[in-house]
Amino acid sequence: MDSYLKILSEITVYFSLFYPILYLKSFVSQNKAFKIFTLYLVLLGVIQLTMRMSTKVWELDSNLFLSHYYFIGQFILLSLFYVQLLKFRWIYGILAIVLLFLGYQYISNPELYHMYNPLGFFITHTIIVIYALLYMYRSLSGKKEFTLANIGIFMYLLSTALIFGSGNLIFNLEVPESFSQLLVDINKVLFLAFQILIFVEWWKNYSIPKTKS
């Protein structure tokens, strides 16, 4: 079982480096939403790679600080992404308020940088999930772009809100290693499912270059 999960873990890392390249290939010819989404995929790839390097190459004690870049970068890029899809200007307002709140959090408690930020994870994930839900409602009538990627974002962020949110709790509880490993593994499986959906989205809609008529 462990060996399977190890392979799975390798797959997610390499996969997260592979599909941004697919998306980057048609970067220039596509619309703004596509460009922002590609940047988001690049961010995921960079975070995955840095996480791998931090443990295997640089041999850092903790790579928790990366989680902050991950969720804040994710929140900014996906908010911009949904502004393009939903055309709601108020998303900018929400983005600004949440960023101000997070800024205040880190200034008032700099220690937070070396821990998980459960509240931050919860707030940002929930807001993105709401955007995804709004977009799903909008795609009810007619064919809309990024339907599959949207489902992927919705499912992955909703289910992992709790995994990342409970990170500190798990450390404090001193539960057996196997349990925290279990959470990591669940995350990996969900992440792979998310990646597959993004890949299928590319395969179905963007693998064949659009011919301009």
Partner: protein
């Protein structure tokens, strides 16, 4: 104590795991819900589109049928009122060129030719008038409908109560023609089929709307048969109402005559 703590921790761990599973399940359910709703909506839209296409087909068919009937009527008119009479003229002219006839006979034949050509002229004018009344083009809808009413009154078969209050320019000329045709068709129906005594016609154009009310006290027909009453030109009336982007309501029952309401927006409304 340690065991107890461990138990509590285990419980928390279990709750977290359960909550994650629940979230996953919920997200699955929501995605499925949206997926099936979307399928349902797409299906409903498809059905609606099909319905519209069917309707368009019916409309097209009705138009073709009407067109053919109209051609048949014109052909009949031309044959009866012009060709057959011109035949007689041609025959008479032949007799004139024969040369072996007395001047009295020549006079008689000349008179006959004169009378017949006058009739042919009158008939051809009538046919042209039926096809496109010159009054409508020259003097507008008000005058054309008034003329229709006069013609109907002249027959002395009906008592006609009419009030026509149409402001010129309320409708575009092509729409005026449709309104005129609807009134003409309704009157034709009354004359041909209804055995009515009284006809009421109100045509009013207001600021935004044009409304037409037509009523007779004839024998009427089953309301269910309206759709099938192609011979009565009802589908033609409905088609014209569609082109006018207006609403038409046709009420009739046996023995109760017919009552038709038509409303459409005027130019000013847009």
């Amino acid at each position: 104590m340690v065991e107890e703590l461990f138990d509590t921790q285990n419980q928390i761990v279990n709750i977290i795991l359960l909550a994650i599973a629940l979230l996953l399940l919920m997200s699955f359910a929501i995605v499925l819900f949206f997926y099936f709703s979307r399928r349902k909506i797409t299906k409903a839209e498809l059905e609606k589109a099909k319905f519209e296409i069917d309707y368009q087909k019916d409309l097209l068919q009705a138009t073709i049928v009407t067109q053919e009937e109209e051609r048949k009527r014109i052909a009949q008119d031309l044959h009866d009122a012009i060709s057959s009479k011109l035949n007689v003229v041609s025959l008479n002219a032949n007799m004139l060129t024969d040369g072996e006839i007395s001047s009295e006979e020549t006079q008689k034949i000349g008179d006959s030719i004169h009378t017949i050509t006058a009739t042919v002229l009158e008939n051809s004018r009538r046919i042209a008038h039926d096809l496109l009344p010159p009054t409508l083009e020259k003097f507008g809808l008000q005058a054309a409908v008034e003329e229709l009413c006069e013609e109907l009154t002249d027959t002395e078969k009906f008592e006609l109560k009419h009030s026509i209050d149409y402001v010129e320019g309320s409708l575009k000329p092509e729409k005026e023609l449709h309104v005129f045709r609807i009134i003409q068709e309704l009157m034709n129906n009354t004359i041909k089929h209804s055995e009515a005594k009284t006809i009421t016609l109100d045509l009013t154009s207001g600021e935004n709307n044009l409304s037409l009310r037509y009523k007779d006290d004839g024998k009427g027909f089953q309301k269910e048969n309206i759709k099938n009453a192609k011979g009565l030109g009802m589908s033609g009336i409905e088609n014209r109402a569609v082109i006018l982007e207006g609403d038409v309501q046709i009420n009739s029952s046996p023995g109760e005559g017919i009552e038709v309401f038509l409303t459409t927006k005027t130019n000013h409304a847009n």
